[in-house]
């Protein structure tokens, strides 16, 4: 003799009357609300040598199915089970599933399940569910051994190499379409180029200018504090000029542009890819590389040096202002010191890098856009990955330039 009572689970039930007469007709049992107004199910199990008799009462619905299944699991599998459903007030698909599963288990064990007292509704639901019980084909189990671990490392290495090769491929694609555009100027989309110049260049001016100004201020302030100790305040001009012109102006501009433009390229191209617009373009004889990549990347190549120059000017301006306030170096003196003490090669060393960074940002952004698949998550993932990769690649290229310039003494 065993009696199991499934306890009330959800606290929200407490406010409701135990039974709602509107739904009392057995005909409608299974179509009443699930989440509210339910009486917890109650299972009484009587076991004899010949058979087990279960009396089920209350709501057999989704919130209680976990407990119902737990009760069913305790049943002995060596004799017939009789289930009396006449006291059941609610019966939904999950309950039908629980009973159908129990029946399958009993039949596998050579026994059977007899159901009594089920109304027309539960009866027909039970039948549909029994007919629909999925045939489960277990998925192949992947073993997590040493070989798989090594294979995972190998495959991620291959992916990394493939990724770099693909980027180089996209760069080549851009160059070939650019050459084609030069040879067939009529096919070139000038309007798109101007539009993208405005988007990536003109609209980025305020943020780039503000960033460079603040960097100039910070450099002057930090530099003067250190240089004061040696009485070499005046060298703050050289410090600001060299660091801004050679490195910081263009590098920080590129990072900002990578953040706002690489992501924009990826999102725009990616959402076109997602909605099959790229395929539509191909079917109309439009080359996505010529129509989408060339105007975008070319706009970046044209605009980034200009943005870099603006950053240089604003950085020097911020530095001069701070040097004047903090160290009393007048703007005229700053100017003289700047012109005499700083070689123009510093500016050249900075500006040479701009087109290279622009190419990196543009190619990474367009490539990531084309990797978007037809789900929303991949668009988000590729957008953030394009920004990270673009910034990382820009900094790495900057390091390579630094070593190269140091070696050749530029």
């Amino acid at each position: 003799m065993k009696r199991g009572t499934v306890t009330r689970k959800s606290s929200q039930d407490n406010n409701h009357p135990p039974f709602d007469c509107r739904f009392s007709r057995p005909y409608e049992l299974h179509i009443v609300p699930l989440m509210t107004e339910t009486v917890p199910s109650d299972i009484e199990i009587t076991s004899t040598d010949a058979a087990v008799t279960m009396t089920l009462r209350g709501a057999m619905t989704l919130p209680y199915v976990t407990q119902i299944v737990a009760e069913f699991d305790t049943l002995p599998m060596d004799r017939t089970v009789r289930a009396d459903l006449s006291g059941v007030t609610r019966f939904d698909t999950s309950a039908a599933w629980a009973i159908a599963s129990l029946r399958t288990r009993l039949e596998t064990a050579g026994q059977h399940l007899e159901i009594q007292g089920a109304g027309i509704g539960p009866e027909s639901l039970l039948k549909s569910v029994t007919d629909a019980m999925p045939v489960i084909t277990p998925a192949p189990v992947v073993a997590g051994g040493l070989i798989e671990w090594v294979a995972a490392i190998g495959s991620s290495m291959v992916d990394a190499v493939t990724f770099v090769l693909e980027l180089i491929g996209y760069f080549g694609l851009f160059l070939s379409r650019l050459v084609r555009a030069i040879r067939h100027p009529k096919e070139f989309r000038l309007t798109a180029l101007v539009h993208h110049c405005q988007e990536v260049g003109f609209k980025a001016v305020p943020i780039v200018a503000l960033m460079a100004f603040l960097i100039g201020v910070v450099l002057a302030f930090q530099g003067s504090t250190q240089l004061k100790q040696f009485g070499a305040e005046v060298f703050v001009v050289d410090l600001i000029a060299v660091s801004i012109l050679r490195e910081l102006g263009i590098l920080l501009t590129s990072i900002i542009v990578a953040g706002r433009t690489a992501s924009a390229f990826t999102a725009a191209i990616g959402s076109m890819k997602m909605r099959e617009e790229i395929d539509a373009m191909r079917s109309l004889g439009l080359d996505p590389a010529a129509t989408l990549f060339v105007p975008r990347i070319l706009a970046l190549v044209l605009m980034l040096p200009i943005l870099g120059l603006i950053a240089n000017v604003m950085g020097l301006f911020g530095g001069a202002l701070m040097a004047w306030i903090d160290l009393g170096i007048s703007p005229a003196m700053f100017m003289t010191r700047l012109v005499n003490g700083t070689d123009v090669s510093h500016l050249a060393a900075g500006m040479i890098k701009a087109p290279v960074f622009a190419l990196i940002i543009g190619v990474v952004g367009c490539h990531a856009g084309m990797q978007v698949q037809s789900n929303a998550e991949s668009l988000g993932r590729m957008t953030s990955s394009s920004v990270v990769v673009a910034i990382f690649a820009v900094i790495m290229a900057d390091a390579v330039f630094s070593i190269f310039f140091a070696q050749i003494g530029f």
């Binding site: 409608e28 989704l62 698909t93 599933w97 639901l125 629909a132």
Partner: protein, 271 residues
Amino acid sequence: MAKDINQADREVVISIRGLRNQFGTQVVHDNLDLDIYRGEIVGIVGGSGTGKSVLLRTIAGLNRPAAGSVDVLGIDVLSADQDDMVDAGANWGVMFQDGALFSSLTVRENVEVPMRTVDGLDPKIRRALADLKISMVGLPYFAGDKFPSELSGGMRKRAGLARALALDPQIVFLDEPTAGLDPIGAADFDQLILGLSRSLGLTVFLVTHDLDTLHAICDRIAVLAEKRVLVTGTMQEMLKVDHPWVHDYFHGVRARAALDTKTAADVATKD
């Protein structure tokens, strides 16, 4: 209105009174009334731009009308607060036109999403129930592991229906369930809806242009025109309405073809 007297003893599950929907200056619905009874399959028809989908979205609480009242299973959808709507959400399911499945989840995970709101449901049981729903809408077992983008349009619709049915709702809203399906697939889907509706006791609110669907499974048809529900009734009653649009709709070339198919099918069953 003789029809309503016959149905007076039936329980009204959706009741719309004086509904007005407008976007800017464009009025889509004005003073629209509609009652839906428990257990019936209602087909909503109307020309393009008559606001069939807007009506569906309004009843499901996804669109706020300018005026009127919408009462679903005793809940006033328009004044219900967030908690009421969450509870009520278990009582109805919506199948959007292209399934509107979450693209980053597998089909099984999509079906499990509504079940996650149920406290204390064992994940293993949840998974098994999701597999059951997937099977009930006629998808093979392996479809559960696929992402929506890997399925055909028809399979996505079935998966969308499985998600709409996840919590055993009392009402399902279907937005053009057979649009874009081949005739065989569409007929299968009609029978699926009919079968599920009868075995689960579902009330089905169906927006469709498919005359075969209207013939095959709809208990009642509601025609949206002139910014309101112009007329409701069975297919036979629709054929007698002499409003020009309704007449054209149900007596056009395609309508006659659908009627012929239906008559032929009925004869075949009788034999």
